[in-house]
Symmetry: C2
Subunit: 341 residues, 2 copies
């Protein structure tokens, strides 16, 4: 099957598969300048913490490439990209890395600076894929053989530069020969599970069953789920995990039913500057995401809506955090800094 790239650097600009239109249409969007990249992140044409990190890095590189005044423009470019979404820390991590690299090389010629930033953004994409493969290798041994893996949202190839974090663990477990199948929460309101996870896993030939989010408890109670694996948007120093809204509920239901709950994420998702998840900003998105499904209105006009895009899972529900450098377990305030080194 043809491999579909989440994000690519091309001569025409940064090319992304439009994740708002999957699985019904496979459409690619070309971001021709950094503002296009910022819009693509804001409007969730690209989403997933690692993927928006790579997108932001490419946005900085694209901005630099088109700038005639790097010293003035780099801060503006970085600030614009950083304002797109508040919760996933990979976005800020990637932008900071590009900004620091710029500081390191700004004594060079403008052309050399641009070349360096473009090469770095491309390297970050390649590194992300390698990181996910390492996460998969580290996580696959934790997946119980002969059982079902439950996942929430999409922490797959589409949420990263490729392979995926949570879905990377599942892919690696399948590559190891484990006989597993997957239950995918549809993940309202944006339906990343129904539209993206189901699509990705079907393409890979991995046996997948789609459920609505509110069915997760029923199946966790049934005994068929061997483990839960999800991604993360930001992990605090104490191991509290911000991830797509609904993750907290799944984690509580997993614990209640003695099902291990694993978080798969790169080291760049750790934010050790935050003591706990209470300090993680939670993005509130538009009411129309809840009142409408793919453009169809499903609620009475004028109804009030709450739409937090993420929630925080306290560390006591997290069985382990799987990173490219190894698997952290409680107490996370010791194991996470040890992994970062």
């Amino acid at each position: 099957m043809q491999r579909i790239e989440t994000i690519e650097w091309t001569a025409a600009g940064v090319v992304m598969i439009d994740q708002t239109r999957l699985p019904r249409e496979t459409v690619f969007v070309t971001c021709r300048n950094y503002l296009d990249v910022a819009d693509a992140i804001r409007n969730m044409i690209i989403r997933g913490a690692p993927a928006i990190g790579v997108a932001a890095a490419m946005g900085v590189a694209l901005g630099a490439l088109q700038s005639n005044n790097l010293e003035a423009d780099i801060p503006l470019i970085c600030e614009t990209l950083a304002k797109t979404r508040p919760t996933a820390v990979n976005l800020f991590w990637a932008i900071d890395r590009m900004r620091r690299l710029y500081e390191d090389v700004k004594h060079l010629s403008a052309q050399e600076i641009r070349d360096t930033l473009v090469a770095e953004a491309q390297a970050m994409r390649a590194n992300d894929i390698a990181t996910n493969q390492a996460i998969g290798r580290n996580g696959a041994p934790l997946v119980p053989d002969g059982k079902t893996v439950l996942t929430h949202c999409n922490a797959g190839a589409l949420a990263t530069a490729g392979f995926g974090t949570a879905l990377g663990v599942i892919r690696a477990a399948v590559e190891m020969g484990k006989k597993i199948d997957v239950f995918a929460d549809e993940t309202r309101p944006f339906l990343q599970g129904a539209r993206l996870t189901a699509w990705e896993l079907m393409r890979d030939g991995i046996d997948t069953t789609l459920i609505t989010d509110n069915m997760a408890g029923h199946f966790l109670k049934s005994g068929r789920i061997g483990c839960v694996v999800v991604g993360a948007d930001r992990i605090a120093a104490n191991g509290d995990v911000a991830n797509k809204v609904g993750t907290y509920g799944v984690a509580v239901l997993a614990k209640e039913n003695n099902v291990p709950f694993y978080v798969a994420a790169p080291i760049s998702t750790l934010d050790l500057t935050l003591r706990s998840g209470d300090e993680i900003p939670i993005e509130e998105r538009a009411a129309s995401e809840v009142t409408h499904v793919q453009g169809v209105n499903v609620a009475p006009d004028g109804i009030r809506v709450a739409n937090p895009a993420f929630d925080v899972t306290p560390n006591r529900y997290v069985s382990a955090i799987i990173t490219e450098r190894g698997v952290a377990r409680a107490p996370y305030s010791e194991s996470l800094p040890a992994l970062v080194g």
Copy 2:
């Protein structure tokens, strides 16, 4: 505001508001024979345990009215109506009540039998409204003042002959002068919360916020939810509760966050013949309810789907069961039979 009836007996047949088309369209369906009533229950034109009980009773009455051979037809009519949906016990309770009444009066003339059955079906509708008002009176004191009530699915006027069970408790609390607002889970896949509960409560001027099902945990953890109130489709002798899928998850999350979890249901929802919820049959509905939202396909073609319409909440998560005869608390195996008397 004009009162909208869920179900009415008219000269033209049994008239129901079409709950598949709310809130976008207010359309009434006239069931002209008992097969139409069976289809309406099966296709969820009418849904909600007490409402389908009334519908089934009216279906039996309609069938009797059009029968020239009551002795042969009554069993067939009852069997057909009983096969429409398996989980809500009110359906079987209502049909049994009509069947037993038929046995009691079958020595009368055909016309007297028909009149008796029609009168009984109409009385069951009126009694259901009175029952819900009593449930409201019994439950309202339990609702914390100044806080938010979370509800799942629609246990409102539309799920009953009127007033509602869970929403009856909320309405009665508002009538008592309590300052409360409501968070309504949208309740995928059929969206009873978004389409029906939000619509009902807005019409009543009760402050309501719509959330996706997977946000319930986030708000239960936030401290703003004072209690959860839901309906029920069947309650076993030990207090295990079958209700719309997702109820179990809400109950676990409520307990985890020390939020009381109340079930509001008429005595007719009790099935004391079942020792525990494990014995309650759970309806599996069509995959298209999950893959499509109001006719729009949101998932890849050919994806496998699970669609259990209900789940079972074990009694240990249930703070109290609110009935028209009083409030039952654990141990339910004692308190529920005592209420039935």
